[in-house]
């Protein structure tokens, strides 16, 4: 069986039936995403590798708990990776350097290669869309969002880290999220050939 042609949900069903080949395919598809989230949070490769290993081990053990009506597989995996990384940071009781977290740049050179199975095409196209929206935000909003997302900092902690007034940080977070939401719903941020390639929609990727 060619597992690379199977969609994410089918792969997870197979993983729930102890199919190691399906886990292998899911890993190939999402290891970079999971590792990227973990590495950007903890800022060291060995820990990010352990988190990635833990995430996929958890997928192996708990694939049957995945609920397609609650989140896409992409969102589910990213959420596990993010929370696992934040747990590690909290146990350390020390965060990495204050500006070590960042968002991807959207230059053409680091755009994901769009080719191959439909799942990968859809993921890569959505990635372009999210990165383009993030790139359109002011730097101060991006920085506040990065500290909240990757390091799990609260408003107060972000304000202390950035040495900015609490109200300013709250406004940056709120405006940043509102703008991202608006832009991700805006067709102008959709890749040009999205409609012809059956890409994931905004609602597919976490909307309810």
């Amino acid at each position: 069986m060619n597992y690379t042609t199977l969609d994410d949900e089918t792969l997870l069903r197979l993983v729930a039936h102890a199919n190691a080949d399906a886990l292998s395919t899911l890993y190939d598809r999402y290891c970079r995403l999971v590792f990227s989230v973990a590495l950007n949070a903890v800022s060291d490769h060995p820990t990010a590798e352990e988190i990635t290993l833990d995430v996929f081990t958890r997928v192996w053990e708990r694939a049957s708990t995945y609920r397609a009506d609650r989140a896409t597989v992409t969102t589910w995996l990213a959420s596990i990776a993010r929370h696992r990384a934040i747990d590690v940071l909290r146990r350390r009781q020390a965060r990495p350097e204050q500006f070590s977290v960042e968002w991807a740049e959207t230059s053409a050179s680091n755009m994901p290669h769009i080719d191959g199975p439909e799942e990968q095409v859809a993921l890569a196209m959505q990635q372009q869309r999210v990165r383009a929206a993030m790139a359109a935000l002011p730097e101060d909003q991006k920085r506040a969002l990065a500290l909240a997302y990757f390091q799990g900092l609260s408003h107060n902690e972000i304000a202390a880290t950035l040495r900015e007034p609490l109200g300013t940080v709250k406004t940056r977070i709120r405006l940043g999220m509102q703008k991202l939401r608006q832009m991700l719903q805006d067709e102008r941020f959709a890749p040009a050939d999205q409609s012809s390639r059956g890409s994931a929609t905004y609602n597919d990727l976490g909307g309810r």
Partner: protein, 241 residues
């Protein structure tokens, strides 16, 4: 509820998980009774769910995958074994309530065999076959039903059996599954027509015009309700001796 009592301004940070505990509790309490804010929150949760895609690209070393696969390998072997046993266990459960009917059928079969073949009956009495040696044939799902599994338990006379399947997609009323017994020449003979429940489980009595172990290949296809003279639909399960 008045607009000013909504927690609209706090929802983006709540979705991101960066509210302080007191504010988070306030929002959680409000969400319990406010469908408007729950709907609004869903939009921000979608944004949070997408943020991972904006993380800078990084790739783990190849050795990490080898560690993962080595970690799951022992569990994969034992879990696969228990998955294979599952249809047989369900079959046992299915047989229990039907036991009186099946027992009567078995008795009639034995009597018929006894009358028609006294010699065989005597030989069976002289050397009764060991109990619990029913042979089985395993069926696995095709690409159309990748998680499906089936077990065909063959009777001692090899002309009857019980097929138990699991993980097949439920069909609408116009369609049923059909088991095909395929001989060395490729001749297909219908073995059973059956449906599955909402969980994808089903069972059927199989009758074969010649000993089941004379056939070399077995398949299950989707057919119009009542079955077809020959396979016409998508193959969902297959197995070979």
């Amino acid at each position: 509820m008045a607009v000013e009592r909504h927690v609209t301004d706090l929802l983006p940070a709540y979705a991101l998980g960066c509210l302080d505990a007191e504010e988070a509790a306030l929002v959680a309490s409000h969400l319990e009774t406010c469908a408007h804010c729950r709907a609004d929150l869903a939009g921000y949760e979608a944004v949070t769910g997408n943020l991972a895609l904006a993380a800078p690209d990084a790739a783990p070393p190849a050795a990490l995958k080898r560690r993962l696969m080595a970690r799951v390998a022992p569990a994969a072997a034992s879990r696969r074994a228990s998955e294979r046993a599952a249809p047989a266990q369900r079959l046992a459960g299915w047989l229990r309530p039907a036991w009186p009917v099946l027992g009567l059928a078995a008795l009639l079969l034995i009597v018929a065999l006894g009358v028609s073949n006294l010699l065989l009956w005597q030989r069976l009495n002289e050397a009764p076959p060991p109990v619990g040696t029913l042979r089985t044939i395993g069926l696995v799902g095709t690409d159309a039903a990748p998680v499906a599994l089936g077990t065909l338990v063959v009777s001692m006379d090899e002309r009857h059996g019980v097929l138990a399947v699991d993980g097949l997609p439920p069909l609408d009323a116009t369609q049923q599954y059909q088991l095909w017994l395929i001989d060395q020449e490729g001749q297909r003979t219908s073995g059973a027509v059956f449906s599955v429940d909402e969980a994808g489980y089903g069972a059927a009595i199989v009758e074969a015009p010649q000993p089941i172990f004379d056939y070399s290949t077995f398949g299950v296809t989707i057919e119009p309700a009542g079955g077809s003279p020959g396979p016409t639909g998508t193959k969902v399960l297959g197995g070979e001796l």
